[in-house]
Amino acid sequence: MEMILAGLLDSITPASLMFVFAGVAIGVMIGAIPGINGPMAIALFIPITYYMSALTAIGFLVGLNKGAFFGGAISAVLLRTPGTPEAAATSWDGYPLTQQGKGEKALRMALYSSVAGDVISTGVLIAIAAPLAAVALFMGPAEIFALISLALTVIAGIGTNSICRGLIAAGLGLLAGTIGTEPVTALPRLTFDVYQLGGGLSLIPVAIGLLAFSEILIQLERFTGKDSGEHAANVFSAKREDRLLSLKEFFANTRTLLRGSAIGIFVGAMPGLGAPVASFMSYDQAMKRSKHKEEFGKGRLEGIGASESANSAVVGASLIPLFVLGIPGNLAVAMLMGAFMIHGMQPGPLMFKENAQLMYGIYGSLVIASLFLAVIGRFGLRLFCKAVEIPAMMLYPIVIFTCIMGAYLGRSDIFDVGVMLIFGVIGYFMRKFDFSYVAFLIGFILVPEWERALQQVVIISENNPNMFFERPVAMALMALTFFVIGKTFWSNIKAGRDCRAAKAKASAQAKDG
């Protein structure tokens, strides 16, 4: 109990409150800018957190992530250009409302739905993470090795249409993660006699290169050199009823919000799915169960509530696998895991034992971030709408320069800027050829723990591979890993066959016709 109180008190110190507030505000601002999403923002801001305490750093980054999730809805509603992929479903009903002059009402619905999803999901995280972590403590190195193998396999499917390409990307991430000092011999491995690689590749330049720099390179390819010139402020109506959201209007969607939050929590707790999946799934369910199906896509508040409650509920729930098992379920959490490691902590069940006060401090920061999101969103909505008007001609140089200086800031070494550029180019090619950079990054982050578990298994069992067969949980997890691989391959083959059969049928019908 003392630990809980001490942790919660830590989270309400002026410094902690200030950084959580700043995180949420910057997150909303960044999320509103099309093309800059939460994980990218976290990658750009991680270097700054080097200079903060662990709690303020995590509080700041969590606030940033929460803010960016809501911020994505601003450009989705005002311009039909989602700031983040998960806000795409929000634009389907948000933009028609904007065209009707009800943009502010749509944004308020998005904000309150986001806060509702976020609060419910944070509550679930607080309620179940610690008890589950206590169970997870019984896992040994064999189970951890098997679990990480399973997570890597599941995650290989994110961000690509092919499990082969996902596994290639994960393999490359594992390989990149082995560069540095080998844990058993403490001798350099795969450093190619470059002394700066002795400590391994730093996460910061790798993440900035893959997430931010390569993304900007791709966006600049499409950039025509002219700004769209759209002005968000013009879409606000002068009529009070078009601007404000009444309690009746909000609570009419209670069931949709609860369902959306439940979907978001389920999807967030499953490694490998992510917020866009939750958002689309929740929207689909809301439409199927609504009495006014025909109004979806034409400006229905229920659609916005479904999408926003689900995608915001992912934020808190995605921390469950991280805190319980030490496995990041999506990119944003992988970045947070990197931040934990930068501050000398290994996320996982042991954190509740070794850093209990910090964990409760993080819980406090999560709740405070939700409150700040409601307040900042409510009073700063019009200001944040201005973010979508920042000219791309000014935005791109700022982001490119921030990428370069952010990579340098981590270790004050220009070598890291070179690493960032290399991974920027790698990320560009990965995106162009549909290789999952998400799988790469998560493989890169998880490999030290995976290798440590493997070494422990080999040493404890005295090179006896039968150890896996003597541990039923480990064996079940390994079996599940192979099952996932087999099932994904089979699904791909079956999808290809179905596609060919459909094409053959269509061409036969065309001939008959």
């Binding site: 080097y50 390819e221 550029l421 490999v447």
Partner: protein, 171 residues
């Protein structure tokens, strides 16, 4: 270039990279096995092995498709069109001149900043980048460059106490 040819080249490059890693890089730059625990080369070999097997499987699939005279449909993103604009999947043609326009100045910055110092190198870099992005308003470009260089200098020097890269301007 057809999608089959494009993907074949990509997978061949991956297989080639794996060969180089397995035959030269991993044996040369991995410490010897100390006699206990797993070999230091094991994880690297497993990672390269996964890549090689998957690239090999993809190649077999592509070759079968090629011999059967099939064409692969254009690559699709995972999410609806609106979400594509925000990242995730941007499958498509590689634009090397475009890549060069932004990578070459960045590489030059890394090299030059050690000799010229942060202020002139970063200012010149920002001017070049803005030019390549398409800006031709020289006054706006200059003002933005000066502000960015100055703000970053203040943040690094006085905010975090980190020395800026290269020699100091007034040293």
């Amino acid at each position: 270039m057809t999608r089959i040819l494009r993907e074949t080249i990509a997978n061949l490059l991956i297989v080639g990279f794996c060969f180089v890693m397995l035959i030269w890089a991993i044996p040369t730059y991995t410490p010897p096995h100390p006699g206990y625990g797993a070999s230091p080369a094991l994880v690297a070999n497993v990672a390269v092995g996964i890549m090689m097997v998957m690239a090999g499987l993809s190649l077999v699939r592509l070759l079968l498709a090629r011999f059967a005279g099939k064409t692969l449909p254009p690559a699709e993103g995972q999410f609806p069109e609106e979400a594509q604009s925000t990242g995730f999947t941007q499958v498509g043609r590689v634009n090397l001149p475009h890549l060069g326009r932004f990578i070459i100045p960045s590489v030059l910055l890394v090299v030059v900043i050690e000799y010229l110092g942060y202020v002139p190198a970063a200012f010149a870099f920002l001017m070049v980048i803005q030019y390549f992005i398409g800006s031709r308003k020289w006054l706006q470009m200059t003002v933005l460059s000066i502000i960015l260089v100055a703000v970053m200098y203040v943040i690094m020097r006085y905010g975090f106490g980190v020395p800026v890269p290269g020699p100091e301007l007034f040293e």
